[in-house]
Amino acid sequence: MDRATEGLSAPEFHLRDCFIRGLAGDAVQYRRFLDGLGSHLRAYLRRRLPRAQADVEDILQETLLAVHNARHTYRDDQPLTAWVHAIARYKLMDFFRAHARRESLHEPFEDDGSLFVQSDVEPADARRDVGRLLEALPDRHRLPIVFVKLQGLSVAEAAQRCGISESAVKVGVHRGLKALAARIRGSA
């Protein structure tokens, strides 16, 4: 037991374990982490946004993308809740700023550690179509994501199809997902 796992609830302990394995390249565990995190975040956002339920699924997807793009910033000695909560809060503040729903800010916004208390697996429909934003990305970003992330080709196969090197495919996926996050921000 170190500082990061001391006194953790069972779901957080499990999620952290999946996440750490995901960081090491285990896609199955990483998927498990994102699924679990998604349910917790959905419940969290539904509590935080009582008057904007229709936006929950959009902010959820945006937050999951932010978590994915920032996954290298997690420190092993840090509670997962604190890290995820800071990201979710940052994205939520972004949403509030964009929509100027000042009254929603009146609720105190503390790190109450309640992120992993509830879980909500029933998704609503997203209003924004991330797929369409993805289609609008330039080819150097779009093609690596479509081949590797959507069609499930290996990096080597995708490199062959695109006629670029394998490292260029990896960079393309990485930058492409960052570009996608920027587009999502711009569409808010």
Binding site: A27, G38, R42, P123, D129, L134, V155
Partner: protein, 213 residues
């Protein structure tokens, strides 16, 4: 796209994350910034001609330690602010320690000096260029560190921008120490600090835009 499909996309083909990459990026940015500031100083201002003698004076090292102390605290803050959910709390005081020590030195020097000499000690010969030159020398580190932090995930962009600016200012000050002839703590604990405060203020101004993610 449904959230389930979106998650499937994110989780598909995830390469292992290189946990040491952020550290390397920060080290590279800091090294490039400091080297550029030193080169700029040497080429544009010139190393002080009596440097070989000056390094035997304790005050030379006290002055450098002042800049290094603030730089160390600013680097520590920048590293922590770059990661979501890392607390800082009371450790902000680390930034105040070098300033408090230097100001104590200034107070002692000014108290011991005859009343008529105090203003001269405070202004030295170069007060009108010192802060501006430090701010100018801070630009390479400023740009390089912004690049490094943009690869991270700062959730408090304004404060993070200020920390980056302060770090850039402190790096520039360390380079400037090799040029500057002023040795009185009354001088440098005022004007060096002002020189570092300029990029810090710029960082606080542009942080929310430059560090958005």
């Amino acid at each position: 796209m449904k959230t389930d499909d979106f998650i499937a996309m994110l989780a598909n083909e995830v390469p292992p994350v290189d946990r040491r990459a952020p550290g390397r990026r920060f080290a590279l940015a800091l090294l490039l910034g400091f080297a550029s500031a030193t080169l700029l100083m040497a080429a544009g201002l010139g190393v002080r001609p009596d440097l070989a003698e000056a390094i035997h004076l304790p005050m030379f090292w006290a002055r450098l330690a002042f800049a290094a102390g603030i730089g160390g605290a600013a680097l520590w803050l920048t590293l922590r602010l770059s990661r979501p959910g890392v607390r800082i709390g009371a450790r902000w005081a680390g930034l105040a320690a070098p300033v408090a020590i230097a100001w104590t030195g200034m107070a002692i020097v000014l108290a011991q000096a005859p009343a008529g000499a105090r203003v001269a000690l405070l202004l030295g010969h170069t007060w009108h260029v010192c802060a501006i030159l430090i701010a100018l020398l801070s630009t390479p580190t400023f740009a390089a560190m912004l690049w490094a932090v943009r690869g991270m995930a700062p959730v408090r962009p304004r404060v993070t921008g200020a920390a980056v600016g302060l770090l850039a200012g402190a790096t520039a000050t360390m380079a400037y120490c090799l040029h500057c002839p002023e040795m009185s703590p009354a001088f440098w604990s005022t004007w060096y600090l002002l020189g570092m405060a300029i990029p810090a203020a710029v960082g606080a101004l542009i942080g929310p835009r430059a560090l958005r993610w």
